[in-house]
Amino acid sequence: MSNPDPISVFRTEAAELLEQIESGLLDLTRRLDDRDQIDAVFRGLHTLKGSGAMFGFDQLAAFTHHCETAFDRVRKGDVPATQELVSAVLSAQDHMRALLETPNGDHDAVSAALLEGLHRAVNGAGMPASAPQHVEAVAAAGDDAGGMREWRIRFSLPTNAMANGTNPLGLLDEMRDLGECTIVADTAKVPSLDALDPRDIHLHWLVTLKTERPRSEIEDVFIFVMDEMELDITEIAAERPVAAAAAKVEPAAPLTPVFTEREPPQAANDPKQNKTAENVRVPAERLDEMMDRVGELVIAQSRLTQLAGTAADLGLRSVSEEIERLSGELRDTMMVLRMMPVASLFSRFRRLVHDLSRETGKEIELITEGESTEVDKTVIDRLADPLVHLVRNSIDHGLEQPDERVAAGKPAKGRVALSAHQTGGEVIITIKDDGRGINRDRVRAKAEASGLIQPGATLADQDLLQLIFQPGFSTAQQVTNLSGRGVGMDVVKKTVEALRGTIDIASRPGEGSEVSLRIPLTLAIIEGLLVRVGNGSYVIPLSAVEECLEISLEDDVRSRGRSFISLRDSLVPFLRLRELFRTGTQPDPHQKVVVISTGSERVGLVVDQIIGDHQTVIKSMSKLHHDVVTFSGATILGDGSVALILDVTHLVAVGQQQEAQLRAAG
């Protein structure tokens, strides 16, 4: 029998679903409180979304998700079913047909417009609006196969496991399939016959397994029962002196590729999720303490690695490698523990916006999205104030009064959107409003008046906007209660930079402004390049390093007074760190130039020697050194000494400044 193509079946099914949804919606326009129709529409949207995602109709799934969320809220009584909402979903439903017809077309503009209508319809109750995120399947816990290994596996099942469909004999069979097996059942916990329910399991098993298969395949055997059972898999390493890898299977971590946890489309926005997971509350300072301990462990381990590397003892090397792996894993686990969803940060803005709305007489809708994006707890703590400032700014300076908005052809209600999403090792937080945008003329006038720029100076638009981050700059003509209170954008920028982040601003007159903060996900550890300058060791964050070049003494001497190196086709300003740090030492005959960049701006740093890569546990500098902007932190090296971490943003700025001066001097 040949099967029909699932995708064409889906198209047919989707067309039917859309008809059902449409008729349900039309019924609702006559009877808004019809529970059955509300449920039916919700279910239709739900199925459409789920199956759409299944068959690669990602745009459809993402778009439908928003409508589903809206209807879920109606269903739960959070939001009343209104004519406005029903007609918004009706128009959305038409668009879904288009998304079904041309799944790869460019529908962004229409989707966005329709979703905006939907937002309005649910009346600013904070409809989450982020696109669904497809997190790829978690890869197998990566032991490579590599030869025959022997494992000791000890497990016990929940007593009711058989009633829920688990067959312990099947598990044992599966293990036998993996390799040579010795199975011992431990009957110690089996109750006496009269107390015994034959459907319950009281046995514990001890299995010795010889296999070439990786550990992940052994774990696969237990995937269904993992989070309720006790499982201990230990490698019996004949040639290894230390019993290795006694890893207890973490129930929370999806370890196998089979039982994949794909992030479902709706998960990203449901704040309820944070409550439902099982949580253990731990005081934050204990987490910090533990992080410190782990940091010390990583440092001690790197010393051990150094020692073991020079030792002839193979046993020592193997222990050292094992410890290196374990401490690495411990550190990664620790990092994850420190992550918190930004929801905790965003949630405080509802009240603020509500209050500001009353204070200013402006109608404001706050939209948040990406609340489940996780960042280091320290980032959350430190970003609170800057974000409050930015949101205040948007409301105070950005959004117009309702009558002004209406006159400009905009909805009376202004919008402020807070969103977070992760790309690579960074989280991007944006604050966007649909207000009047930044008034360039006023920025210029203000900057000229305060001497920041020459009257009539020619500036690129972006450079002009950047002026608002200058200390003491505030464009509010009258100092209002909200934003003109001395805490300016310069403080926001400094805070973000202290988190090793960057801040960008975009603004279109009449349409609004958008401020984006890019912040590294975790603050505690960076990969660094360890270099020597004079007698001191310094760390350059590897993420900023573009390349390393050698510079001969002749080149160095020749370049004196210019301080540019030519890098392929462009001239890059460079800084001699020996001079910057006043080491008073002679240059190394084999100096190196480390080219670092922030975005498009580059600067070369001349160092005496490149020592190598170094994974760095960042220690913050105390308040007493907050005046030193050249360094963003410090770290402890393998020998226990302290190395300072260079602040890339600052050094690039110094380089640019130097370039500007030299250009000005001709």
Binding site: P6, V9, E13, R43, S51, G170, F259, Q266, K272
Partner: protein, 122 residues
């Protein structure tokens, strides 16, 4: 004798996909369109595995499995949920109701087969 699997889903395309995947793997697949249909089919036959959606008209997956576990003949049938939900609370409810496993949509048909093999031991 090949193992018999009941798949319960209100989406025809999902039912088809599961049928193709499990059928190609050599299992005998019966389909049900919602929880009520599923429960009736379960009552009327012997199944080695149930793969079911959560959110369905007439009877949802959770109710179906609770009813199923009340039937003495079917207490031990493994039930795997196949759903877009991944909410921890729902999973806990499903566990409590007697679910054996959970696979989140969109899913890889290969994973479904692997899961079936694992649960059925063949």
């Amino acid at each position: 004798m090949t193992a018999k699997i009941l798949t319960v889903d209100d989406s025809a395309s999902i039912r088809l996909t599961t049928r193709i995947a499990l059928g190609n793997a050599g299992y005998t697949v019966t389909e049900a369109v919602d929880g009520l249909d599923g429960l009736n089919k379960l009552k009327g036959g012997e199944y080695d595995l149930v793969v079911t959606d959560l959110n369905m008209p007439n009877m949802d997956g959770l109710t179906m499995i609770r009813e199923l576990r009340k039937l003495p003949a079917h207490t031990g049938v493994p039930v795997v949920f196949l759903t877009t939900e991944s909410d921890g609370e729902l999973k806990a409810q499903a566990k409590a109701a007697g679910a054996t496993g959970w696979l989140t949509k969109p899913f890889d048909p290969e994973s479904l087969v692997k899961i079936a093999r694992k649960v059925l031991g063949r």
